[in-house]
């Protein structure tokens, strides 16, 4: 807020500044802080900066060694005036890159992460190279330090307290921003230096533009294929096309007819509309609600068909000496598989301490397989898996790329395998094609 603004200065031309009639003062979003200061200086306006000055992270950092591509990524970020997004595949060491950025800039830093599990994980990684107190905002804790880790939700709720205290903003899984949800958290931070990390930068032009505004441009990007066979493990993706049983086919056909009739009408009337528009529109009519219900039942039917059950049994048997991750579309399927094959499920219903125990057992090799719907999709450091079985998915290509990334931690002579179970002549065929396209554009001949 600009209090007691002098007369004779055209503040309407200042970056981001608006007149706030509620408090009779000029106000700008915190993200414009540096630009506004530069503008005020250039305009010759004398002012006193009474913002909560950022504190410097003076506690000792240990050196952070980087691989060659990480060094290149950090240099690209520095050259972009410490503002931009680095896109690297899962397992390629994005967190380490962020640690190096913090260590080399020595700036007070706020790291935003999507989940509470990652909050712990980041705090642990930082503590390995930084000897100062590490702040935490999230999971019921509110502690600020020159290096602080916060969940997206914690930051969103408390950015009025955090936004003015840091010079560097690091955002893990930055693709969650740019779509409007919680973007304010980034707008309410004064940090000029911003580093976004992702394995899957957004493709939608609107989101990409918005993210560029919030974090800066994509300054460095490597695909899975660029690192596979060297810094990441080589891998194969094998798609198994399966059939429905006659009962399943009949039920599927009935449901499909209910859905397709309504959907086709909608598409004819609104060819530009998307799925969200269809859901909204359908919820208002009884035929629409029936169509949505049919859609959900189709998804449920396809989630774990008889053929998928048989295929999974066979694959688990074939790879019983490997470390296997099974991915499902929903928690119910994950529990069904857990009960049938006695594989430990990792879901949102399992407490975090138990999840940590489970991952430790998996790391040590006491557990050879895990089954999960979404918990393993993103961010979690899951070591040394070498086989993935994708029984189903709900979130498209981004989810698929993240899941495949779980296999890519390299080791001597490792070649990972990902199996996709796809039911012929169903909506799964199109879904599988789309999600593979997402993977293919980020890799090359390895697939």
């Amino acid at each position: 807020m600009l209090a007691d603004a002098p007369n004779g200065v055209n503040f309407a031309a200042a970056p981001g500044v608006l007149w706030d009639h509620r408090v009779c003062a000029y106000r700008a979003p915190a993200s414009k802080y540096s630009a506004l200061k530069r503008w005020l200086l250039a305009a010759g306006v004398r002012f006193e900066d009474i913002s909560n000055r950022p504190r410097y992270a003076q506690a000792a950092w240990s050196d952070v060694d980087l691989r060659t591509y990480q060094e290149a990524a950090l240099s690209a970020w520095e050259l972009a005036h410490r503002r931009g997004v680095v896109a690297l595949p899962t397992g390629s060491g994005k967190t380490r890159l962020a640690l190096a950025a913090m260590q080399r800039t020595q700036l007070s830093a706020l790291c935003l992460v999507p989940t509470r599990v990652l909050l712990e994980q980041w705090s642990k990684e930082i503590s390995a190279v930084y000897r100062g107190l590490i702040g935490c905002y999230g999971d019921g804790v509110r502690r600020v330090a020159p290096v602080t880790v916060a969940t997206f939700e914690g930051a969103y709720r408390h950015m009025n307290e955090l936004g003015g205290r840091f010079d560097l903003l690091v955002v893990d899984e930055v693709h969650h921003f740019g779509g409007g949800l919680r973007d304010e958290a980034l707008e309410m931070a004064i940090a000029d230096a911003r580093l976004g990390l992702t394995a899957t930068p957004p493709r939608d032009p609107g989101t990409a533009t918005c993210l560029r505004e919030l974090m800066g441009p994509t300054v460095f990007e490597l695909a899975v294929a660029d690192l596979a066979g060297g810094f990441l493990a080589s891998f194969d993706v094998i798609t198994l096309y399966l059939d429905l049983s006659s009962e399943e086919r009949s039920a599927y056909a009935n449901l499909s007819a209910i859905f397709r009739g309504v959907y086709a009408d909608f598409r004819r009337a609104a060819p530009e509309a998307n799925w969200a528009d269809f859901s909204r529109h359908s919820a208002c009519t009884s035929a629409g609600r029936r169509a949505l219900a049919a859609w959900r039942q189709m998804r449920r039917l396809l989630s774990f068909t008889h053929a998928k059950q048989r295929a999974l049994r066979s694959l688990l048997e074939r790879h019983r000496d490997s470390k296997v991750l099974v991915f499902t579309a929903d928690n119910d399927t994950a529990y069904a598989i857990a009960r049938e094959h006695l594989i430990m499920p990792l879901t949102c219903d399992i407490s975090r301490p138990e999840r940590a125990d489970v991952l430790e057992h998996f790391r040590r090799g006491d557990l050879r397989a895990l089954v999960s719907a979404r918990v393993l999709n993103e961010g979690l450091d899951v070591p040394d898996a070498d086989v993935a079985v994708v029984v189903g998915g709900a979130l498209g290509e981004r989810e698929h790329v993240q899941r495949i990334g779980r296999l890519l931690r390299p080791s001597e002579g490792k070649r990972a395998i990902a199996y996709e179970l796809v039911t012929r002549d169903t909506i799964e065929v199109g879904q599988a094609r789309r999600r593979r396209r997402g993977l293919a554009t980020r890799s090359s001949g390895q697939l």
Binding site: M1, G16, L18, D20, R22, V23, R27, P29, Y156, N160, E184, E187, M188, R280, R320, Y335, A338, R339, E340, H341, L342, I343, M344, D349, S351, E354, D357, H361, D366, L367, R368, A369
Partner: protein
């Protein structure tokens, strides 16, 4: 907060009309409560399965889901029915299975034997802590159909307000509770007097709302709703953005919303103790909490107390306790009182505030305190003024010129401005 999928409303022009649970819903709500009670101690999934079948009375599906969610949140902690603690069962079974080539049935039988339970019990224990497997619990306190409806409506409105960008409330009485809440939650509250009426108009929004239609403050705005029940009259308009459309939600006194528990009568222990001491010391005076706000420039000030003599209502003083506040806040507050130029104002100032005498409003009686406001000193001060003035001025009179400012350090008698310097 409720998920959006449970929020039921219709749109009429630019208005969003929540589908409240009303008296016509009470019959099926009673049936729901009876069914729920019948399933206490049984698995949640059994209750869910029962409720997928119709209740004896017709129940609108959307409203039923809303009521169920509210009821679920009222339950005490849910237990699970596992013979073996589920986490222990999982650890033993899944680790056991990973370490052997035996078939799952054999693994279960072996682990069950080691625990002294049947394989079936062990299998049931594996996920007995999942939401659907937990046992239905009774609500913490008995709930009637009426209360369930009111709680459902509150949850519904609060969820709708999570999409709100600004609230406008015309309110009579208890305004201070609302203003205090907005301040506590970091919202901006512009307060204006309602011309010719005995109330105030509040416009409440968040700082960042200037830049975008943000939902950042929706939760804080929603928290105001149960407080409104303690305002004798109110009319609320909320600007919401729902499905990309700008819509208005309207509420007014009498709408069926579950009220908050009574608001705290006092802001601090200091205020509470002062009120108690003053009542005891001066039975001939009434001490009124939260008197009518006074106008200063374009805003309103809310004094903490009015002190009024029982037999002579002309002897009426406003009293403000200025305790531990930031310098900025203190400066603004004093500026407002100076602007308002209220006669018969007593300011009880924390002696540690280091406030310059020139900052104080003209005509105000100042009593300094440490930790505890001395009711006797306040009484002594106002009596001495009343005796001197002979009751010539009434509250709300504007002080002409700069009247004497009387400053009192607790226990040291009344001093004039000149004496104090």
């Amino acid at each position: 907060m409720l998920p959006d999928r449970l929020v039921s409303y219709s749109i009429a022009g630019a208005l969003v009309v929540p589908h409240f649970l009303g008296a016509h819903d009470h019959p099926w709500l009673r049936s729901l409560l009876e069914e729920h009670e019948r399933f206490v101690g049984r698995r949640q999934r059994d209750l869910d399965a029962r409720l997928r079948q119709p209740l004896p009375c017709e129940s609108p599906p959307g409203k039923l889901k809303l009521a169920l969610e509210v009821l679920r949140r009222l339950q005490r902690g849910q237990r699970n029915a596992g013979m073996v603690p589920p986490r222990r069962a999982r650890a033993m079974v899944f680790l056991g299975a990973a370490g052997t080539a035996d078939a799952p049935a054999a693994v279960l039988a072996k682990v069950a034997a080691s625990l002294g339970v049947t394989a079936s019990d062990l299998r049931d224990s594996l996920f007995a802590d999942l939401p659907g497997e937990r046992l239905v619990g009774a609500p913490g306190q008995p709930v009637s159909a009426v209360e369930l409806a009111l709680r459902g409506n509150l949850a519904l409105v609060q969820r709708l307000l999570s999409h709100a960008t600004v609230l406008r409330i015309d309110v009579e009485g208890n305004t201070r509770v609302l203003v205090r809440h907005t301040k506590w939650r970091g919202l901006i509250c512009a307060v204006a007097e309602q011309i010719g009426q005995d109330g105030a108009s509040l416009e409440i929004s968040g700082p960042f709302a200037l830049f975008r239609n943000t939902r950042l403050y929706g939760r804080a705005l929603g928290e105001l709703i149960p407080l409104l029940a303690w305002c004798p009259r109110f009319r609320l308009q909320a600007e919401c953005v729902l499905d990309g459309r700008r819509l208005t939600l309207q509420l007014a006194s009498g709408d069926p919303i579950f009220p908050a528990s009574p608001p705290r009568q006092y802001d601090s222990r200091t205020e509470e103790r002062f009120a108690r001491d003053f009542r005891r010391l001066a039975p001939e005076w009434d001490i009124l909490r939260e008197p009518k706000p006074i106008t200063a420039d374009r805003t309103l000030i809310f004094p903490d107390f009015a002190l009024q003599h029982r037999s002579d209502p002309g002897q009426r003083w406003l009293l403000e306790i200025v305790g531990f506040w930031t310098p900025d806040y203190l400066a603004r507050k004093l500026a407002s009182y100076r602007e308002a130029r209220v006669a018969r104002l007593i300011l009880c100032m924390d002696a540690d505030r280091n406030c310059a005498d020139t900052d104080l409003p003209p005509g105000a009686l100042v009593v300094r305190f440490r930790r505890r406001v001395d009711a006797e000193a306040v009484l002594r001060a106002l009596r001495s003024v009343e005796n001197a003035d002979g009751g010539r001025r009434g509250t709300g009179d504007v002080v002409s010129g700069h009247g004497d400012r009387r400053i009192l350090d607790a226990g040291h008698g009344v001093q004039t401005d000149h004496d104090a310097s």
